[in-house]
């Protein structure tokens, strides 16, 4: 008997008070996509490949990022240019499998790969989410400046 009374007069109003409190306070939902949150400086989004100041690619296709990647989503094929310098002929990241852990960035000895702030890259085609080197490289005009 006591239990029933306690529920009715104590537990229910107490629960509802929380409901009413939120009903009356300002909503925390952000009206995405019109509104966007500011990201934490450590946010890890879509990868990009950095360039040197002279516009050449920083990545030498050493394979360390792929070796570290826990989800095995980086694929590359090295080759050499006319000076015998090593660079990536093919460099692909399967963003569908990536868990955005950032290990690739940490492993890279050339500071070539970074996880950026971009997170809006959904697509209706799976194969489009396998990003190629061309997709990942920063545009030439942004060469040398950290994004």
């Amino acid at each position: 008997m006591f239990d029933v009374l306690k529920t009715i007069f104590w537990a229910i109003p107490r629960g509802l008070s929380v409901t009413f409190k939120y009903l009356l306070s300002r909503p925390t939902t952000v009206r995405y996509p019109e509104q966007k949150l500011t990201l934490s400086p450590r946010y890890r989004g879509l990868h990009y490949l950095e360039r040197n100041e002279d516009g050449t690619e920083k990545c030498v296709c050493c394979g360390l990022c792929a070796a570290f990647c826990p989800s095995g989503c980086i694929y590359m094929e090295p080759t050499e240019d006319e000076f015998g310098e090593r660079y990536a002929k093919v460099y692909e990241i399967n963003e569908l499998r990536c868990i955005f852990c950032g290990y690739c960035q940490e492993a890279c000895p050339k500071e070539a790969i970074f996880l950026g702030k971009e997170y809006e890259f959904s697509n209706d085609r799976r194969e489009k989410l396998i990003y190629t080197k061309e997709d990942l490289l920063v545009p030439l005009e942004k060469a040398g400046q950290r994004m």
């Binding site: 394979g63 070796a67 090295p78 015998g84 090593r86």
Partner: protein
Amino acid sequence: MATLTIDGKQVTVEEGTTILKAAEKLEIDIPTFCFHDKLEAEGSCRMCLVEVEKMWKLQAACATLVSEGMVVKTDTPQVRAARKGVLEFLLINHPLDCPVCDKGGECELQNLLFKYGSDKSRYVEEKRRFIVDPQSKYDDLAVGPQIIRNMNRCILCRKCVRFITEIAGEADLGTFGRGSKSEINVLPDIPVDNPYSGNVVEICPVGALTSKSFRYKVRVWQTKATPSICPLCGDGCNVKLWTKDDKIYRVTSRRNDFVDEGFLCDKGRFGFEFVNHPHRLKQPLIKKNGKFLPADWEEAIKLVASKFKTTREQSGADSLAGVGSSKLTNEENYLFQKFFRVVMGTNNVDHRVNSRHLLPSPSLKAKNQIYSTTNSINEIEKAKLIFVLGCDLLKEHPIINLRVMKSAMRGNALILANIESTRLNRFAQDELIYKKGSELTLINGVAREIIKGKLLDADRVRLSNSEMEKLREKVQPFDSQKVSQTTEISSDKIKNFANTITKAETVMILCGKEIITHPQSTEIIDSLYDFLRLTGHQDKDSCGVNLLWEDCNSLGTLDCGVLPDRLPGYIHVSDEALRKKVEGIWNAKIPDKPGLDFNLLLEAVHQGKIKAMYIAGADPVSEYPEEDYVKDALEKLDFLMVQSIFLTETAKLAHVVLPGASFAEKDGTFTNVERRIQKLGKAFDPLANSKADWYIICMLAQSMGYNFDFNSPAQIFEELVRVSPVHTKLSWQDLNETGK
């Protein structure tokens, strides 16, 4: 013998052993850079410093000999500090190149640094560079067709230079300059292109020497190494195949001290491209109206089986013939001849397609005498005189060539007799260039010289009186004038040779292709044996006549009975008792009449007696001396089936072509020149829609109504062991590592 203590453990080793070797025996690891087992110790890298009690300085373990009661410590603070110091010195000028360096992942500098070095550098000055092209950031220089040098990474262990001079016997790589300006380089216009050059890439502990074919293709940790055997010559070097996703990226040595001592020739090291060649056959082909159309396996096998069956019914079993190949494995060859003898019911199988002159099939008793080597490869170094007859060792047997060179460099005599001068002559005491075909005259001439010139030591002659008389008679007509006329060698030279060979302590004779394919090969070999008996070089260690077969499995194919008159292990088909035994194991009847050898086969085809042929692995159109003759014959056949990995000239004439698998795609064994049976390793599945050759034979048998119940080459091998007297006492397990 000396007993010493290393890290508290006692070990007894022979006098004259180094501390490093003694530690190896205890499995104590002492790091080194400049040490190589097969090269003279140099002691220049100082990485192997250890503490020896009662010596006030640290000692280099690779160069310090052990002595009785020595107490060595390999892991004291002093030693560790020394290692750290050595590594720091090495890194002063070493670039931070690991991301681009091909050696990354298997680099000894990386590994040892990780283990013993410091992770901080105190060096802030500019690093030394050997600039090759001011335009380029990297200082790579092609020093040979296959080799690229990056001097910045070199730690000057000089292993490469020592290999080139001590083992390869060349001088195309050297050290130039002094001190920190020392440089490994070539002379202008003299590239490193000797036939063993690829070894320096493997020997170099860092990425200073890299190979063009492997460079920047893949990282080593992404590849898988499969132990296997080189398929490109009869020496049977042990290799590792480095593969990733069904592609071979490189071949390196897998040291086997019985065979290759850890070296490979460039042919074997860089000649693997055929495996992933785009022209590899991808599916069965059936010729319709003169054009090959792709077919599926079921259809192709059905067609072949029905053709063979109808031919057998209409024209008898002996209208069918099979040609095996010395490039297929033992298991496949065994199965192939069994297929013909059991399923087809004929002895018409052979594999000797590259010569018009065939050595007679060896008999069971003489198998070791005529058809193979008497001596092992390791014995080569021990012979006091090596006589090479009719063999361009460098081309035919590069690794045996290395052994012969080693022997000559150690002061043993070497005499060459060839139709042309060979590169080995730098090491030869004498070189006899004879006119092609005059080998027999030469040998008999020398024998006569020995008898007539009374050079003989009566105690050493191993011939009975009657044999001696016979020999005397045989060589009588070969007087020196006639001999020097026929052979075009001056009689002085022949006299000299006769002299040297009788005086020598031990004589080993190596014969090559020129002798094997010679019209008088049997006579030559017999004469050589007489010759050794005459000079007393019979039945002694490292004495004997050795026939060096050319292909990776020439000897194995013979041993497995791909011969018209011999079953596996050289059992003659008419040998009732032994044949019955084989019949018991095979549970089938074997025809007792010898079949036709390849030459007779061709004749029979021309006469219309052979109607259908099955060629597995061989390419007689390219290999047989008379191309048109073979072509005409094969075109005459009612039905020709070829099993091959490429659309060879022979395959083009076929009605059905079945795609086989290369050595990298199947298990099996090869028998090398010294009759060592060694295992291949399957690195990946047969490419595209091809199948292992043994599997194809099983499928065919199945489709013709016989059950070849084998699931793997191991099972086939176990049956071969039961059948063949040559292979007895072997088992598949025993063949791991070094082979048997």
